[in-house]
Symmetry: C2
Subunit: 409 residues, 2 copies
């Protein structure tokens, strides 16, 4: 843990004053009286996204109608938005497209990766995000590949042994543990295996260097630290030379080299574009496009550094409250959220939300505090921890309305 | 063709005055000076959808943040919107969900249908919409099933012979020819085969009776005659008893019986819900939800009857101009658009658009006139045909700017 962790609120204020990212916060339409520590689940709206949604709906759709496919650049959006995302993950502009959901993209990538791998095995750790595990199971069912479910941190061992296809998150959704992409890719190369990275909890908060670290295939979420909006479409990264050897199982017309020629046979686009499938959701994609402008001129190394510092502050103060962290103490091994255990974590989370501090909860007992560097300040974390301290000291969480579970947690 | 086709503009006005659907047009935010005959490609915005997009973005996302998954009903949207769509296609409310794109849904349904079919064959006609053909090819590649591409109208013959899985549009995108769902389903049942219906050009304009006609599986588009917005998500219909025996190949967490329990193993939802996959795109889904209110209180039999009458008017007037129709003359066998051939159809379409009349073009030579009954009037068709007559008589289409193709046609 870093040495210079603020120990008073005024030290937090000083850190905020010196923050090179301080100006980025003005891009966000944050509600009054809310400290938002849930950017690892759903990022907040930016003013640009709110404006863009209106423009897309009222000008491009209502006035432009069908003409906007050409005139408003709708047709190019999956690629133009992908190119903007590429910088944030250390990829070339033409290696990223925006399409579908993470679940669908994991399916497409891992299924298409099977013929490239030495072993016909789909590997997933039992600590992976559930949809990654479920999708792996589905791929095994439809392709006949072997499903290999392994324990926490055993994915690369299994990869080395089998030369199969490993689905792996760069940042674990519960613990926030960061995987070493470069080291894992070396293992994959030696074993003749392939890794499909899930960047959902990593994109927009870590200084990802996919090209430099030898990553071949990845997908990820844009509604978390990228702030693209609820259910914003996912992205796919595929290194050019790798994409060229792959066939998407879901070969829809938007992945075709000439979608409006209406040819009978399927001829995929060059590169990552072949992983597009159906007509893109323009409203959601436009909001995402505008949201990305919050990253204009921002260095991802600054973002990652601030996430580490804010995370250290959460870790220190929750430790003082006697809460056990399940996230790495070493900030270099930690993503943009810090998770602590509490037997009544769900109720504690609800009590915090009732006071305007919004973290989230993951079963069975983890409270996750997300520290999105573009809009979370040191004072926000400080004040949130004060509220947490009070809620625990007074058992304010122990009320029926906080103990009752909602459909989405 | 029906006998009572208007022969003057004032007869058109009389028909509009007597139209039981006349009031529905007020729901739409149509631009001034435009006659929109492209509802079979992208439906126009409704006032309700424009308002809803703003509410969802500014209230639910920006203010409600993560809380809106529960408080604003986001989590339920795929089912609640599906239930509204169900009435329009003659299905039970719990047999329809909204999710993904048509391409992805065709993949999921046809792949999952293979184990139910006697023959391990994917059948598609070479006149099908391209993405249906491409997806069939992809399924064959990933599952090892045989791909059987057959000629126009030969799908049910192949189905009878093989007992395989047929992907088939109820309304053909080019010709507008309507398939007989009930007769085809009888053939499927006798052969031990399964049909996956593509309702993209049929939903919202025909009086579909999926339950009554024995349909088991279908998907379709919501951005055409349903007016859900550009790239609005697709829907899936699966009859309860059929869905129960199917496994979606793309087994994502939103198709899980308890997505927030974060179980390691995949346990699908009852019924059609198992075909959900990733997080739904809330902005697009909300716009679609609001768009559907234009159908409140509308009888689909009235919609279908008006589509037939408007189509007859297009067919009569284009025939008078010497244009060859590729759509059925019998309006009962025709969907919501009428297609005519012209060697320079692309340029003619562009010339019409320049005059504020918007049809569309499909390669190689078809101009499609869509007659969406909720907002197209008899006088609109009359005036559009007057423009077409003038453009053809004066060769106004023969200009460089009309002959140059854009990316999207």
């Amino acid at each position: 843990m870093a040495a210079n962790i603020p120990t008073t609120r005024s030290e937090c204020e000083a850190r905020d004053s010196a923050d090179p990212l301080a100006a980025a916060r003005t891009a966000f339409a944050l509600p009054e009286g809310v400290i938002y520590l849930d950017g690892h689940s759903l990022g907040p709206a930016t003013h640009a996204a709110l404006k863009r949604v209106q423009t897309t709906a009222q000008e491009e759709w209502a006035r432009g109608l069908i003409r906007s496919w050409n005139d408003a650049g709708w047709f190019e959006l999956p690629r133009t938005v992908g190119a903007k995302l590429a910088r944030l993950i250390g990829a070339q502009a033409d290696e990223v497209i925006v399409t579908d959901s993470v679940s669908v993209n994991l399916f497409k990538l891992a299924t298409a990766a099977l013929p490239l791998a030495r072993g016909r095995v789909i590997i997933v750790e039992d600590s992976e995000f559930p949809t990654d595990q479920y999708v792996a199971e589905g791929i095994a069912g439809v392709t006949g590949a072997e499903l290999m479910r392994v324990g926490v941190g055993k994915g690369t061992d299994a990869l080395a042994r089998t030369g199969g296809v490993l689905i792996k998150s760069v940042v674990n959704y519960r613990t926030s543990l960061v995987e070493d992409v470069a080291a894992s890719e070396e293992i994959a190369t030696q074993a003749g295996g392939v890794i499909v990275w899930d960047l959902s909890h990593a994109t927009g908060v870590l200084d990802l260097q996919l090209n430099a670290h030898g990553a071949k295939l990845a997908t990820g979420c844009t509604y978390k630290f990228i702030n693209g909006g609820p259910g914003a479409p996912s992205f796919i990264y595929a290194r050019g030379d790798v994409a060229a050897r792959m066939q998407s199982p879901v070969s829809g017309w938007f992945g075709h080299a000439a979608p409006f020629a209406f040819d009978a046979g399927y001829h995929p686009l060059e590169g990552v574009g072949r992983f597009a499938a159906g007509t893109p959701g323009v409203l959601s994609l436009s909001a995402l496009d505008a949201s990305l402008s919050a990253f204009d001129g921002v260095a991802m190394s600054d973002v990652a550094a601030k996430a580490r510092a804010l995370g250290d502050l959460v870790a220190t103060r929750t430790a003082e409250l006697g809460l056990e962290s399940i996230s790495p103490a070493n900030s270099l091994a930690r993503g943009g959220h810090v998770s602590v255990r509490h037997a009544d974590g769900y109720a504690v989370t609800q009590a915090l939300i009732a006071r305007g501090v919004i973290p989230d909860f993951r079963a069975p007992d983890a409270i996750r505090f997300g520290v999105a560097p573009l809009y979370v300040r040191f004072v926000d974390v400080w004040d949130a921890m004060d509220q947490l301290a009070d809620i625990l000291a007074t058992r304010a969480w122990d009320r029926p309305e906080f103990l009752r579970r909602a459909a989405v947690t």
